[in-house]
């Protein structure tokens, strides 16, 4: 069974590979041979930044006269098939000067195009109204593209811009509280977001619990957030995909960029090793809050360590015009200590190979390694210590083809295979020389996905994108599996209206790679676009997603100690269905305003929930403490964005609910999720005052999160225990969240012949110093445990100033 499955999977993948590579290549060779009388020719190539040679994703390539076009893919590659003849092709990309090329296309042509960034003092040449119209013209919806140049202008906590914190200002995205790890997309939990760094999954995207993310903004090229209408090549999570791509490194000349900030400093170096052929980028950050705060801490805490660092590096090698290889890696750690050691972090490695098989067929092959781990240790002597490590390690191999069949059909197909090694806890305690192993054994699983997806333009108005993903998950040994009994009831036994832990029974052992439980799911994906007119369109989408690995977390904010678990015979895979419909409209001079309204509804099956008092760490019978809930989320997102002119920014308002239901919680009735925030208003504005000064401001408003408040108290054995007589979950809401941030960027005087460019960023976060509650909790007073009180817990209760100096040379 086990070997059979493995072989089957391998065979399937290699079959795909060989079939696709040989069959298609040959097929296309015939198609493209000079003797072919086909009147069509293909224009293909890469679009790059003229200054750095960095490839550009999402560039619009348009031939107005033919009303046809293409978009460059994640690697900057495009392919457009047109009738023979002379064509005017426009290349446009936000923040870049558009380029018009008049090309005589009589044969298949490979042409790399370089675009120049719009300078502050350069008047951009407005040549086409296609710029920024992708939101209306393409089939994609529920997608937000984060432009690094925009992120750089937004006011940030302590002046340090951050991708994940910027994402939290987009429609449909919220967070359970300030500084909490992760983010919630359209009512999903944080583990339902697949966060990819150069295609490698990242299991904890936070530094300092959640104040900053692990992405060094200097090293990031772009980021896309898919909240729905997911293309079939993405899978494995229910709610969203955050696809972050790192820069490739300047292929033309050496550059350095960095910043010295209040809380950490950054440095990024990039340079060609062989000009236009091999280049690299290395980016590092190190925080020093512990050093800065030392004078303010009492002596007992003076030895406290808390800092983080991360390092990203990437090398890319253009072997020849057809083949490019990338090798990228990330390593980051958060280090905490105060008489104990505690550190955690991700490490990822990605090896990619881009190949252009011919003018219409592009492929990418990726090998990935990802490792999230934490280490916790107490005790200095060998006779008295406690050491605990936990890890999740992922190895993946994926292969994807982009096949530009003709201007009407763009097909993406491929596979991904992943091997998981879950190490929920290797823990050893030594007490006075007596050693105790309280660790848990590793768990193993394999996940595979095969997919195909076609974007088809039916006519001028209608376009459709349809795809199918087949995913398979095999939970395997070596290990022990067990079933669960129902809770025992009866006189004298424990009773509760709430679910109680169950008892593990029927223990059985499995050998390495022996299948314990096999799951598979078909995940259809469909998007339809109808263009009402030049400036507006209506789109609709449906997608199903399956998620086989789960973050076991029962706290208000996720902790770095939370452990990922595979689906097992007792934990079912999460299944999500989403439908969305949206209206997209651009208006104003040069379409300077982009706007959209999207309405969505999601159904979620097999959501993890927990019995009261669930023990989630180092618990060999964890599955007995888990419940399987169903969820639903729905909402409307209103978005208007201005991306041209001196004043830019956006307003986003989301009205949404997210709820769940499970027998054994809240009397089995639906209740709001703890991250349910019905109203979310985000306003982001950036204003260029003059060539040297830019101002920006954010305003955030969000409804308070739900919370469970007690109604009564009971005293048992002198303990004052809170009690809710209606046994309700999330029966109250904590006060609303709102915040205003402001920043001013001061650019240095531009001098010709000087490479050094510097700018200062002065910012104030939480300008009016609101004590935004993270939670309100109820506890007995420490000084008098008979007296109970409510406490508001907030993270930032003051205006936080920040100064950062950023430089580039």
């Amino acid at each position: 069974m086990n070997l059979y499955h493995l072989r089957l999977l391998a065979l399937l993948f290699w079959g795909c590979w060989i079939g696709a590579s040989i069959g298609f290549a040959q097929d296309l060779k015939n198609d493209n041979s000079p003797s072919n009388v086909n009147e069509k020719v293909t224009l293909s190539g890469y679009v790059k930044d003229a200054k750095s040679g960095e490839s550009l994703t999402g560039v619009n390539i348009v031939i107005r006269a033919l009303e046809t076009g293409a978009v460059s893919n994640n690697y900057g590659f495009f392919s457009l098939t047109v009738p023979k003849g002379k064509h005017v092709v426009s290349f446009s990309y936000i923040g870049y000067q558009a380029q018009l090329l008049t090309l005589e296309l009589n044969q298949n042509t490979q042409r790399n195009v370089e675009l120049t960034e719009e300078g502050v003092e350069l008047e951009s040449i407005e040549i086409t109204d296609e710029m920024g119209d992708r939101n209306v013209k393409s089939t994609e919806m529920s997608v937000n593209r984060l432009d690094m140049r925009t992120i750089q202008k937004m006011p940030a906590l302590l002046g340090e811009i951050d991708i994940i914190r910027s994402i939290q200002l987009l429609p449909g995205v919220s967070t359970v509280g300030e500084g909490a790890t992760g983010f919630n997309v359209r009512g999903g939990t944080i583990d339902q977001n697949l966060i990819l760094m150069d295609e490698a999954p990242v299991y904890n995207s936070s530094h300092l619990f959640g104040f900053f993310s692990i992405f060094n903004p200097d090293a990031v090229k772009d980021a896309q957030l898919y909240k729905g209408a997911m293309p079939a090549q993405y899978g494995g999570r229910l709610s969203s995909i955050l696809d972050v791509r790192l820069k490739e490194g300047n292929a033309k000349k050496f550059t350095a960029a960095g910043g010295i900030g209040t809380i950490f400093s950054r440095l990024t170096l990039e340079a060609p090793i062989v000009k236009d052929k091999v280049s690299f980028i290395v980016a590092g950050r190190r925080s020093y809050i512990d050093i800065l705060s030392k004078p303010f801490l009492p002596e007992s805490l003076a030895s406290t360590q808390f800092n983080f660092f991360d390092l990203s590096a990437k090398v890319n090698w253009k072997i020849n015009p057809r083949n490019t290889v990338f090798l990228s890696g990330y390593f980051g750690r958060d280090i905490f200590g105060a008489g104990f050691k505690f550190n955690w972090g991700n490490g990822t490695g990605t090896l990619r190979w881009n190949r252009i098989w011919n003018d219409k067929l592009f492929s990418n092959t990726t090998a990935i390694y990802s490792n999230y781990q934490y280490v916790l240790g107490f005790g200095q002597t060998n006779n008295d210590r406690f050491d605990w490590t936990s890890r999740i390690i992922t190895y993946s191999l994926s292969h994807q083809f982009n096949y530009y069949l003709n201007p009407k059909n763009t097909i993406i197909f491929g596979f991904i295979g992943t091997l998981y090694d879950f190490e929920p806890g290797n823990a050893v305690g030594i007490s006075m020389g007596e050693r105790r192993d309280v660790g848990l054994p590793s768990k193993w699983a394999m996940e595979g996905g095969v997919y195909a997806d076609n974007e088809q333009k039916l006519n001028r108005r209608w376009a459709i994108r349809y795809g199918l993903r087949w995913s398979v998950f095999n939970y395997t040994g070596a290990g022990e599996a067990y079933d669960l009994s129902d809770p025992i009831t009866g006189l004298g036994s424990i009773t509760s209206d709430n679910a109680l832990p169950r008892r593990p029974i029927n223990f059985r052992q499995y050998n390495q790679w022996e299948s314990i439980k096999l799951y598979n799911n078909f995940e259809p994906r469909l998007s339809v676009k109808y263009e009402v007119d030049e400036f507006s369109s209506i789109k609709s989408s449906y997608n199903r997603t399956a998620q086989y690995i789960h973050l076991v977390s029962n706290t208000t904010a996720a902790t770095p100690l939370d452990v990922w678990t595979p689906s097992t015979n007792n934990i079912l895979p999460q299944i999500g269905d989403q439908v969305a419909i949206g209206y997209f409209r651009n208006f104003g001079k040069d379409n300077m305003f982009e706007s959209s309204v999207e309405v969505y509804y999601r159904w979620m099956q097999n959501q993890l929930d927990y019995v009261d008092g669930a023990n989630l760490l180092l618990n060999p019978y964890l599955e007995a403490d888990l419940l399987s809930a169903q969820g639903r989320a729905y909402g409307a997102e209103f978005y208007i964005k201005k991306s041209k002119g001196d004043l830019t920014g956006w307003i986003s308002y989301t009205l949404a609910r997210t709820e769940r239901q499970v027998a054994g919680i809240n009397r089995g009735e639906w209740f709001p999720n703890r991250f349910d925030r019905p109203h979310n208003l985000y306003v982001v504005a950036m204003y260029t005052l003059n060539k040297r000064v830019e101002l920006s401001a954010n305003f955030v408003y969000a409804s308070g999160t739900p919370a469970t408040f007690p109604t009564n108290r009971m005293m048992v054995q002198g303990l004052v225990i809170p009690h809710n007589s209606e046994n309700r979950r999330n029966n109250y809401r904590i006060p609303d969240y709102h915040r205003f941030d402001f920043s001013l960027t001061l650019f240095g005087k531009k001098k010709p012949n000087r490479r050094w460019e510097g700018h200062w960023v002065f910012s104030v976060y939480n300008v009016y110093g609101r004590k935004n509650p993270f939670s309100v909790y109820f506890q007995p007073q420490i000084e008098d445990p008979q007296v109970t009180q409510a406490t508001r817990f907030f993270l930032i209760g003051i205006p936080v100033p920040g100064v950062t100096y950023n430089f580039k040379f």
């Binding site: 192993d437 209206d497 902790t559 109604t711 008979q786």
Partner: protein
């Protein structure tokens, strides 16, 4: 700045201030503490904490009968408390009068009537509270039962009958209690600390409640000592601690927060509890300390008290356990 980390403020313990009693189960609070540190670091010069008292209007809720019945098979006075729940912010207890309480042993079919009496309880603040109790006083060497006996509880109050069952389980082996300087281990200090030496019985699913008497007064709401319970010798089931010495954090989790002084007396009792009682205390402890960034969803504690009339709207809360007890004491010289 210091006041933020002052123990009188109401946030859970910052890491480092835990003293020699680091507990795995206190990790969430430790993180919370780290978070408070970070909050300070980010606030730097501003003397603003991360917590403040919040005024909340709470539903008064429906009053329910609380049966607080933790008794033992010792040859000693046994007391049961019957009260009703109060609005959450309403300090004090509402003991009930006029209830009738019996305990019965299913082996020898004896019935023990607990009669209403007055008792003065001294709380953590040395305040005396007059309480109504239901009391049984043994005559001679009489006890409620032996290890292995099943004991029933019957409470009649206000036209309702509440019942429960419990088994008297064996308790652990308790060798000694010592007091020494905290000069080894993780957090060293000059404080005098207590530690008991004891062992779990062989065979799994033995659960214990370790109680401490400090200078003749029971330690209840000690910050670090809040309900010291053990599953076999460890924190929870499946920890491979069967038949072994209690793990060190449990052994050291006796004594007052502020350390001992010469002349102090300290007694450690190990009460046998049922695994269900262990669950009750685990959840109760979690609920009392729940809060902050890494709080878990608040939940009601379970009960093992039933209304005889299952469809009655009068649903009791509380707990019944009959323990076997071992006890050792020490005087600090």
């Amino acid at each position: 700045m210091n006041h933020i980390l002052n123990p009188t403020s109401n946030h859970p313990t910052p890491a480092g201030a835990i003293g020699g009693k680091t507990l795995l189960r206190q990790l969430p609070q430790m993180f919370h503490g780290l978070f408070v540190l970070m909050c300070i670091a980010i606030g730097l010069l501003a003397a603003v904490g991360c917590e403040q008292k919040e005024n909340v209007e709470l539903d008064p809720g429906k009053a329910q009968v609380i049966v607080d019945a933790f008794i033992s098979n010792e040859v000693d006075t046994q007391q049961i408390y019957i009260s009703i729940t109060r609005p959450y912010f309403d300090a004090g207890v509402s003991d009930v009068q006029g209830a009738r309480v019996w305990v019965g042993n299913s082996r020898n079919l004896r019935i023990f009537e607990f009669t209403e009496a007055r008792d003065t309880m001294i709380d953590d603040k040395d305040r005396a509270t007059e309480r109504i109790v239901y009391r049984w006083v043994p005559v001679g060497k009489d006890s409620l039962g032996a290890i292995g006996d099943t004991i029933g509880l019957r409470v009649e109050y206000n036209g309702q009958t509440y019942q429960s069952l419990a088994r008297i389980n064996r308790t652990a082996i308790l060798d000694s209690v010592i007091v020494k300087k905290d000069d080894e281990g993780v957090f060293q200090s000059d404080e005098l600390e207590a530690e008991f030496f004891g062992r779990d019985q062989e065979g799994t699913d033995d659960t214990y409640w370790i109680r401490t008497w400090y200078n003749g007064k029971r330690l209840i709401n000690s910050r670090f000592n809040l309900v010291n319970i053990a599953y076999d010798g460890g924190f929870n089931a499946g920890a491979n601690t069967d038949g072994l010495d209690f793990i060190r954090p449990i052994r050291q989790n006796v004594g007052p927060d502020e350390g001992l002084e010469t002349g102090d007396t300290l007694a450690v009792e190990i009460h046998s509890i049922s695994p269900e009682t262990f669950t009750f205390f685990s959840i109760a402890r979690l609920q009392i300390q729940n809060g902050g960034l890494f709080a878990t969803p608040p939940a009601n504690v379970p009960t093992n008290i039933f209304n005889e009339n299952a469809s009655s709207p009068e649903r009791p809360v509380g707990w019944f356990n009959v323990a076997a007890v071992v006890r050792r004491g020490v005087r600090v010289k």
